[in-house]
Homo-oligomer: 757 residues x 2
Amino acid sequence: MATANKYKVIGTRPVRHDGVDKVTGRARYGADTKIQGMLYSAMLRSPHAHAKIKRLDTSKAEKLPGVRAVVTAKDLPDPGTRIAQLGEGAVCMAHLTRNVLAREKVLYKGHAIAAVAADNIHIAEEAVKLIEIEYEPLPVLLDVREAMKPSAIVLNDDVRCEEVGAGTTGSTPTNVAKHFHFEKGNVADGFAKAKVVVEREFVTGTVHQGYIEPHAATATWNPDGRVTIWCCTQGSFTVRQQCSELLGVPLGHIKVVPTEIGGGFGGKISVYLEPVAAALSKKSGKPVKLVMDRAAVLEATGPTPASYMKVKIGVDGDGKITAGTAYMAFDAGAFPGSPIGMAAMCAFACYDVPNGSVDGYDVCVNKPRTNAYRAPGATNGAFAVESVIDEICEKLKLDPLEFRAKNAAKEGTRRVDGPVFPRIGMWETVDYLKKSEHYSTPLPKPKFGGKVGRGVASGFWFNCGLKSAAFATVNTDGSVSLSLGTTDIGGSRASIAMQLAETLGLTATDINPNVVDTDAVGYNDVTGGSRVTFATGIAAYEAGEDIKRQMVQRAAVLWDVDPSQVSYDVATASLIGPGKNITFKALAEQVNHCGGPVIGRGFSSEANQGGSFGTHCVDVEVDPDTGKTQILRYTISQDVGTAVHPSYVEGQLQGGVVQGIGWALNEEYWYDDKGVMRNASYLDYRIPTIYDVPMIDTILVEVPDPEHPFGVRGVGEVPIVPPPAAVANAIANAVGVRMEKLPMSPPNLLKEILAGK
Amino acid sequence: MATANKYKVIGTRPVRHDGVDKVTGRARYGADTKIQGMLYSAMLRSPHAHAKIKRLDTSKAEKLPGVRAVVTAKDLPDPGTRIAQLGEGAVCMAHLTRNVLAREKVLYKGHAIAAVAADNIHIAEEAVKLIEIEYEPLPVLLDVREAMKPSAIVLNDDVRCEEVGAGTTGSTPTNVAKHFHFEKGNVADGFAKAKVVVEREFVTGTVHQGYIEPHAATATWNPDGRVTIWCCTQGSFTVRQQCSELLGVPLGHIKVVPTEIGGGFGGKISVYLEPVAAALSKKSGKPVKLVMDRAAVLEATGPTPASYMKVKIGVDGDGKITAGTAYMAFDAGAFPGSPIGMAAMCAFACYDVPNGSVDGYDVCVNKPRTNAYRAPGATNGAFAVESVIDEICEKLKLDPLEFRAKNAAKEGTRRVDGPVFPRIGMWETVDYLKKSEHYSTPLPKPKFGGKVGRGVASGFWFNCGLKSAAFATVNTDGSVSLSLGTTDIGGSRASIAMQLAETLGLTATDINPNVVDTDAVGYNDVTGGSRVTFATGIAAYEAGEDIKRQMVQRAAVLWDVDPSQVSYDVATASLIGPGKNITFKALAEQVNHCGGPVIGRGFSSEANQGGSFGTHCVDVEVDPDTGKTQILRYTISQDVGTAVHPSYVEGQLQGGVVQGIGWALNEEYWYDDKGVMRNASYLDYRIPTIYDVPMIDTILVEVPDPEHPFGVRGVGEVPIVPPPAAVANAIANAVGVRMEKLPMSPPNLLKEILAGK
C-alpha cells in the first residue's frame, strides 16, 4: 500500500536506538531514580469522593522517628488562576494546585491531601496513618446529566460557565465549566432535505489510559533555590512550567530530567507527584522520591471522561448527508478541563456535512480530573456518530464503505467547527479498505457457536503541530549526536533520527538520539497530539540543514575555495567542490581543524498538520447466551502520511486498536454510589490480553502531509477512534442489537440482547 | 591595579553557580557514580619497576565466587601507533594501551597489569591476590642522564629518537624519544659580547599534581556496542577519543559523562581506568566501577618530570642579555611524552634574547609516564633560567626587577623558538611589582631567629586556544541555560556564564551553566592549557551573539517589522524597534509564539592567546641550623588580561603559588634504588599546609588579549612557574647558598649550607 519509496532511510525498518536498553532492563524509568541520601515518601489520600476538610493535623506524623518532612497544601503557595496550555488541553493553576494537594475540599476518592518523606517507605506509610483529619461528607455527583442540573451541589465555587465562541461567562457557580457551540449551514433546512433521519443517545464510562508504569517523581531542592526533578513525563518542559507556578520558583531554576516512560497516552502531562516531591525536598533538605501504586494511578490520575451524547444525522435519497447535530456532555472530573472541545472538533470531521451543529459541555463531577487519552474525546464522539451512520446505512441498504466514500471529507471541505481541510486521506482509507482482502471476503462461519457480524467505522484526529527544538553535533567519526527534548513514548528517537539521517544522507545508525533535560535543548512542547514525529522531525530536519550549511563552509576552508563553490550531495553524503569531493565522514574527521566543531540546531514552530483519518473493519462473534464478544478479525486502513518507520507505524495502529477494543468491550471504572471505584487494580480493571485480540492487520495509506518536508503525519492517536463504533456496528450486524452504551461488556450486552427478545 | 571596568558583569564577583552543590556535599564526583547492578573492581599492579612478564594466569581469580570478569591486556585490541594530541601533549596509542594495562613488560612500580570486577570490592581485592604472575626483573633506570647513556638498557624497543625540526628519526632503539632544538641569532657572537656569563646545572625531582580526588571511572558496555563512561576528567572528549582507539569502538558509540572533578592540573587528561572499566563491563555484562587509592594515584598516574638542565646566559655591561643557551633533559617516565617541548618554548620567553638556543630531550625511565602539571615544563625551566639571571644580577649589582624591565619581552619580540609576541604584559608585571608596597618595603627582621632574604623571579606560559563549543537556550522566564563541554575545574562555569551574561546584557545569575556529556554539546578540547575561560568564553560569546540575532528576529515577528529595523541594546538587555522596545525577559516569554524557541550556538576554533606572564617576589626566613625555609611574605604580579571574576583569578594565582612553594621546598618522589616510591601517601608526600604559606598577595595586571572579545587571558598556569626560582633566589639572598636542586627541603638545603661553610 505504501507509495514507492523515494527515500533512503525513511520507510526502512532499522532497530530502534533504545531497543537494547529496553529489552535488557537497563533503561531507567521513573521509579529507578536513586540519589544518594534520598528519602522515600507516601501520601494521605481521601477515602471520600466529596467532603469538606474540617481539620488537618500532621503533628503526630511529624514526630514519628525517621520522618523528615510532612507537606500539605499549606506548603504550596497560591499560584493564581492563570490557565496553562497542556498541549492537548488546558488547566487553571488554582485547580491544578488543589488537584496536587487538596485544600478546602476533597473532590474525589483518592484525592491527595498530604505527603510524608521518611528514611524508608515503611516509616512514611506508618506516618501517613498518624495524620489526623476530619471530614464533612458532601453529596456525591458521578453523572454528567445529574451534575448539570441547576439543583446539583456545586463542586467548585469559582467555576462559571464559559460560552466559548460567544465569549461570555455565566455569573453563578456551576458544575458546567464550558459550553462549546459550533454551527455550519442551516441545520433545519438540512434535515428537511433528508430522506432518513436517525437520532440516538449514547453513554460511555470512565476509562483509563492503562499505561504500564505508575507515576514516579524524585526531586532535589538545593539550598540555592534550584530544583531538579526526575520523572516519567510526556512533557519535561510542561512539568517545569507547572512546577514553577505551583512552587513559586522561577522557571529557569528548575531542571526536569525526563526518565524513560512506560506509557502515557495523554495521562502523563499534568503534574501530580512532582511538586509534592519538590516541596518535601525543600522541607527535609534531602532528595525525595514519591511513587504511585496502581490504585492511586487509577483513582487519582486523569482517566478519560465518561460522556453522554445525543447525535442526529439526516441523509438524502442519494445517500448524501444533509445535516447532523451532536450534543455532548463530558465528565471533567473534579476540576474543569475535559477534552470536550476536541471531541466537538472531531465529531463530524470525517464527512462533508453541509449543515451541522455541535454542542459540547465540560462538566465537573466527583471523579479524578480527567486528562487526555489518545485522540482525547474523539473516540466518544465517533462511537455515537459512526453508530448512527451505520444505522442509516442499514436503513438505506447502503454499503457502509460506499456511504463513507461518497460523504468523505476532502481537501477543501469545511468542518462544522470551521477549518477547511488541506490535503487529507479520508477517502483513500475507505478506498483501500474497500479493496482489501478482508472486506472482500465474506464473513467467516462462527468459531465458538455464536453469531458473527462485521462492522466498519471511521475516525479523525486533527494532530497537533506545536513547538519543538532539536540540537545535533557532528562527531569526528562521522556519526551525529542528536539531542531531543520530546520524551520518547512510542519510538520517536528512531523516527526522528531517521529524518535527520535522511536529511544528511546518512544511515539511521549514524545518528545517536538522546532525550535530554530541560536545560539542554531548547523549549519543546509535550509528546502528545501525535505531534512529535511531525514537529520534532521538522526540528531535526532543520538541524540537519544547519549542519549541511556548516559542512559546506568547512569543506570550503579545507579546499580554500568560496563556500558558494561547494555543495552538499545528499545521495552520497558528500561535499562536492571544484574538481574535488569528500565524504561527510571524511570531512567530519577534519572539521575541528578547518573551521571548528559542527553544531546544528533547528526548531518547528509554525507548522500545522493536516490531520489523520482511519477506517476500520472488524469481524466479531457474539455469544448470545453470555453477551461475550470475540474479535475474530480486524483490519485498520489509515492515512499515515509518509510512514517513517513502517514497523512502528504498524505498532501504533495495532496498539490504538487494541486500546479501542478494550474500551469497547470491557474497560470501565466501576463506581459505587459513594463514588468509590471498586475495581482499582489490573485484576479487576480489565484491559485486553493476548487472548482477547487477534493480530491486527494494517493498511498504511500514505498521503504525504504537504506541511512536512518528508510528508509525515502523526499516526498514534486516530487508531483508537473507530474501534468502539466498529465493534458496536459489528455486534449490531451479528445480533441485531444497537449498543448505545460503553463498554459492551457481557453483562451490558446480554441485558440488551435479552431486552430485544 | 585593575583597569577601569567598562563591563557590567565581567570584573564583578558573583557567587559561583556550582557553589552550593560543592559546599553542601551534593556535587557528584567520580567515585559517587552509582548504577543499578554495578560491580566493583580492583587492579593487580606491578611490584617491580622494570620486569618482563613471563607468565600471567588469571584462572584462579576467575573461579572465585562473586568474580564476574577479569581483564588483562589481551582483552584490549591493538590500537595501532597513531599519535594523539592530548591538549597539552601527545601520546602514541601503542604506548597508552600498554600504560593502561601492561603487555610484554612492566615499566614502573604500580604499573597496572590486570583488573577484576566482582560483586563487591572485597571479593575483587581477594581475587587480585589469586592472579598468578611470573616476572623476570630487569635493571632499573631512574635518572635521565643514566637513561641517555648508549649503554643503558632500553625500556621500549619501538622508541627511536625523533629530531624535531630536522624531521629525522634515529634508527636504533633508545630511551631518548625526542630531541628539540631551537636556535635564534648567533649564540657564539652573543656570548662574545657579554660582560658576565654564568652557566649552572640544575636538577629537579618528580612531583605530583596533588589533586584531592583520586581517579575514578564507571562504565557500562551495552550489548548493542554502545559504551557510557562516567569519570572525573579534564577532557570528556579526550576520554572518548582515547577509549575509542583503545577499545576499538567507534567514537560515536561512546558517551562520556564528566562528573565533578576534584582537581586535575593536567594529570586527568590521559585515560587510566576508563578503558579497563569498559572492558570489565563488556566481559561481565554489568556496569563496573573502578577507583584508585592514593598510592595508585602517586605511583601510577602521571606526575611531572624530574629533570636535568644546564643553562648559560651572557649579559653585557648595560645589563642587556646578549645570549642564552639551555640544555634540558626531562623524565618522560615509562613511555615518551614529557612536556619537554613546552619547557623549551618557555625557557627564555620572558626576555628579549637576541641570540639563543634550547636543546630539549624526552627520556624514558622506570617511573610512571609523566603528564602535564600546571604550565608543564615551564616551572623546571624557570627554576634554572631565573636562578642564573639572579646570579648575574648579583654579580652585576643590578636590581633584579630593573634587569627584568630592561630585558622584558614585548609585543614584537621574537622567541628563541620562533614565534613573535603579540601584545603581552611581561614588562607591566615587573613594573607593577616594582611599585608594590612589598617590593618597596625593606626586608623584615627574622621572626624565628633565622636569616631573611628576598627573591624575585618571572615566568611565562603560552596559554592554549584549541577548540571549544557551547550551546545556550533561552528559557521563557528570560534566564538562559548554557551547555558546556569543558569540565569545570577552577570556576569556569562562572567565568563562562559571566561572559555570556555580558554579551546579552544579563546578570550572571540569569545564566544557568551546565557541564554536559559528549553527546550534548559539540566537540571541546580538554580543560587545560589555561584555555577554557578564553576559548569556551569565546564559544559562549558567539552563542550569545547567535541568541541576539534570533531575539532580533523574534521581536521583528512580534512587531511585524523587518528585522533590519530592530536592534539589540546590550546596556538595557532590550530589543529596540521603530517606536517600540521590549526587554529580553519580556520577549523571552513570548518567543515560542513569535518565531519559536531561541537556541544559540558558538564555537572557538582559530583564536590563539598571546600568553601570560608573572613576576613574583618572596621573602623567606631560613634556619641555617636545620635548613628549614619559612615563607614570610609573597606577592604575585601577573598579567591576567581582563579578570572575568577577580576572586577566582586571585584564587588561581594563590593556588599556583602554593603549589610552586610545595614544589620548591618539600614535594618529591622518594625512590629507592629498586624504583619503589617510598612516600606514596599524603602522610609522607608533603604538600604545603596552611602552616607553610602566608596569605599570597596578588596584583592583577590587566593587559587585555586582543584575540578575545573581552580581552580574556588564561590565568591558571603561569602562577606556578616562578615560585621555585623566586624561593631559591630568596634563599641565596638569605644564606648565600645557590640551590641547584629541587626540592630545597631542609636536608637538601642544610647539606648545601654545611658544604658552603
